[in-house]
């Protein structure tokens, strides 16, 4: 699979939470070609179903990777300039000097520019520009901006996916389209592997705001187990070592209250069987991924999380290693192919009784 090509299409499409339609079309195509059936549910999740070879009724495993991205939203127009608010959360400090796309009546290129340092009083040069002082400039006269842009229109970062050396890529929305690509890799891999369970591969909506897609998607599918794929923090200057992971050294397998420890163990066994590089991620704090929602659907669903290390998270230059994406997909596929009739029984808690 041409992972870079797929990731380029996925990340260059714009899809702020609740407005994922551009991405959805690409996911339907890229998941659909490996699936028996693909559908879109009420909230807009794309669900690709790949039937297992076991006898009816078959258990099902659900995969969840979110396709929404963080962005900005128009708050107010003033003399042809656009005041904005955050949808999901960029660090204000990455915004000055950034190019954006304003999704008005037509798509407009815009710039978030700031005064050059030499015209500012010295006292103002040492503080970050706050979000409410920043403006988007689309280079059009005020009357035209009023005609084309309305309060509530969305703004996304302009950011082509670029290839760095060492098999790295940088772009916007790798959180979490990197995982969407990993799910596509997984489905392709599964078309070569034997699997008895049904697989529901879901590209979820609205993870960045409410986990809404995972909440309703899991309810609709009612899987026996759920695996979320998301991104995690890669090591880089200015971040602590103990909560970050090496880029290019494999996906992380998460342990913590959100995850069923025996599912995590199963992922580790699958990684070892593949002799694949992986990293252990202690995840003491619940939340932050679709696994949080999956775990508490219906009467409770055993959940797991596989994460892809990404640098510069929540910026327009999120950076990931292609081989980590590929490994995450292969790891999950290998795990699924190892599921059998006994798998659910193995998840039972040992009460220590005779």
């Amino acid at each position: 699979m041409d992972i870079v090509g797929l990731l380029k299409r996925l990340t260059e499409a714009d899809g702020v939470s609740g407005y994922e339609h551009q991405v959805r079309a690409i996911v339907q195509e890229s998941f659909g070609c490996f699936a028996d059936r693909t559908y879109v549910d009420t909230l807009g999740n794309v669900v690709a179903v790949k039937r297992g070879t076991g006898p009816d009724p078959r258990p099902a495993v659900m995969l969840a990777a979110h396709m929404d991205e963080i962005g900005l939203i128009v708050r107010e127009l003033e003399d042809g300039f656009i005041h904005f608010e955050q949808v999901g959360g960029y660090d204000d400090r990455v915004l000055p000097g950034q190019e954006v796309v304003v999704h008005g009546r037509r798509t407009l290129t815009g710039v978030i520019g700031v005064p050059p340092p030499h015209i500012l009083p010295r006292a103002e040069r040492d503080k970050p520009f706050p979000c409410d002082k920043l403006l988007v400039d689309v280079g059009l006269p005020p009357e035209e901006v009023s005609r084309l842009v309305r309060v509530g229109d969305l703004i996304t970062m302009k950011g082509d996916l670029i290839e760095l050396k060492g098999g790295l890529v940088a772009g916007k929305a790798l959180d979490d389209r990197a995982s969407v690509a990993a799910v596509a890799v997984c489905l392709e891999e599964l078309s070569r592997l034997h699997h008895t369970w049904d697989v529901y591969a879901v590209a979820t909506v609205q993870e960045e705001v409410t986990y809404g897609g995972a909440i309703t998607g899991t309810y609709g599918i009612k899987p026996q187990i759920g695996i979320a794929l998301d991104v995690t923090f890669a090591r880089q200057p200015g971040v602590p070592d103990d909560t970050t992971f090496e880029l290019g050294k494999g996906p992380t397998i998460n342990y913590g209250p959100n995850f069923h420890p025996k599912l995590s163990d199963g992922l580790v066994e699958a990684a070892k069987a593949l002799e694949m590089a992986w990293q252990m991620e202690p995840s003491p704090r619940p939340g932050g991924t679709d696994a949080y929602a999956i775990q508490i659907s219906h009467e409770g669903i055993p959940a797991a999380l596989v994460s892809i290390p990404v640098r510069n998270m929540h910026t327009p230059v999120e950076t990931a290693a292609i081989k980590d994406i590929e490994r995450a997909g292969r790891l999950v596929a290998a795990f699924i192919s190892r599921l059998d009739d006994n798998s659910m029984a193995k998840l039972a808690w040992d009460l220590g009784l005779e």
Binding site: T109, G166, V317
Partner: protein, 340 residues
């Protein structure tokens, strides 16, 4: 469009080769002589049509742009850098750049907001703490791609924002590729005077190129062409916009580096009014241009600066109006025709 090619070209101070090559290709055949000097100034000479002795007019535009220089290659393969010229650290986080002669793509790292402490968010990340990631996983790999002293600039591409109305475009380095493109356009005209177009190096680090170019040319009078500050965004407090987008070329009366020659200001105003060309005066007191060194060359040179207003100069991306650009070309041609 020449402006597009110039804006996309790589040319931080001391490394203006690509800009020089674009200009030389464009000017060849349109001028009588093309030459370079020790600092990397490109000087185009166009002989006047008037009787000898002819006045020598220098038209200057600087070829460099604010950029970055690699000053360390770290064990983890990341590149430490410093600004060359006034590229502010507050606009560098999470930007795309190209590095060195091989134009290696890279990104400036920005730690994720999730791992930042509350008080960190109120702090500017200093340039000493920033690094460029080109994807090299260690020092050795990075050294195969980049060397100390290599330059980097934002990888911003030129784009038209509106085809009509203000005819705005966005791109990097309009300060001063806008001036370079205006100067290059003057080569199409015929003038009574001898015209020296100086595409001067190293303005952003102290107007170094223009100083020696002015000495060599020894002009009778000089015009510096710029892309200047245009801070015309809506603001609560009442402060000057410096210049306004779409209101025509900005003529400098005084800035931090010089006081313009009154006769040349008058010449420009008369030329504008006689030809119905819009113009504005730049807010006095802000900025410095090559006129600052040209007017003190040898025994002194009457000088003035004319600029295309550009929003967000010294940012990775700026905006200008092609109407202002065309009017600056028209004003300069009209003014040069008035000199005998």
């Amino acid at each position: 469009m020449l402006l597009e090619e110039l804006s996309n070209a790589f040319g931080p101070p001391g490394c203006e080769d690509e800009v020089r090559r674009v200009l030389a290709r464009h000017l060849r055949g349109k001028v009588d002589d093309l030459s370079t000097d020790a600092l990397g100034n490109l000087i185009a000479f166009k002989r006047g049509t008037g009787p000898e002795p002819r006045l020598k007019v220098m038209v200057d535009a600087h070829s460099d742009e604010v950029g970055l220089m690699i000053i360390s290659i770290q064990k983890n393969g990341l590149l430490g850098f410093r600004a060359v010229g006034g590229l502010g650290e507050r606009m560098l986080l999470a930007k795309r750049v190209v590095v060195g002669e091989k134009r290696i793509p890279g990104v400036i790292l920005a730690p994720p907001i999730h791992l930042a402490k509350e008080e960190d968010l109120e702090r500017v990340i200093k340039i000493e703490q920033l690094a460029i990631d080109i994807g090299a996983s260690n020092e050795e790999e990075a050294k195969g791609l980049v060397k100390l002293g290599d330059y980097a600039v934002p990888s911003t591409r030129f784009e038209i924002l509106s085809e009509d109305g203000l005819r705005t475009v966005k791109g990097k380095a309009f300060d001063d590729r806008a001036g370079c493109a205006v100067a290059a356009a003057l080569a199409d005209g015929q003038y009574a005077v001898d015209l020296y177009l100086s595409f001067s190096a190293q303005e952003e680090v102290g107007m170094r190129g223009a100083r020696v170019a002015a000495y060599r040319i020894a002009p009778d009078l000089a015009f510096a062409l710029e892309g200047t500050v245009c801070n015309d965004l809506p603001k609560k407090e009442d402060s000057s916009p410096t210049s306004k987008l779409g209101k025509g070329p900005a003529i400098t009366i005084m800035d931090h580096s010089f006081i313009a020659d009154k006769r040349l200001v008058r010449l420009l105003v008369d030329a504008a009014e006689a030809n119905g060309i819009p113009y504005q005066f730049k807010q006095p007191g802000i900025g410095a241009t090559d006129s600052g060194v040209i007017h003190l060359s040898r025994t002194g040179v009457p000088s003035v600066t004319v600029a295309v207003p550009c929003r967000y100069i010294h940012n990775p991306v700026s905006i200008l109006s092609l109407n202002d650009f065309d009017n600056t070309v028209a004003l300069m041609k009209a003014a040069l025709r008035r000199i005998e």
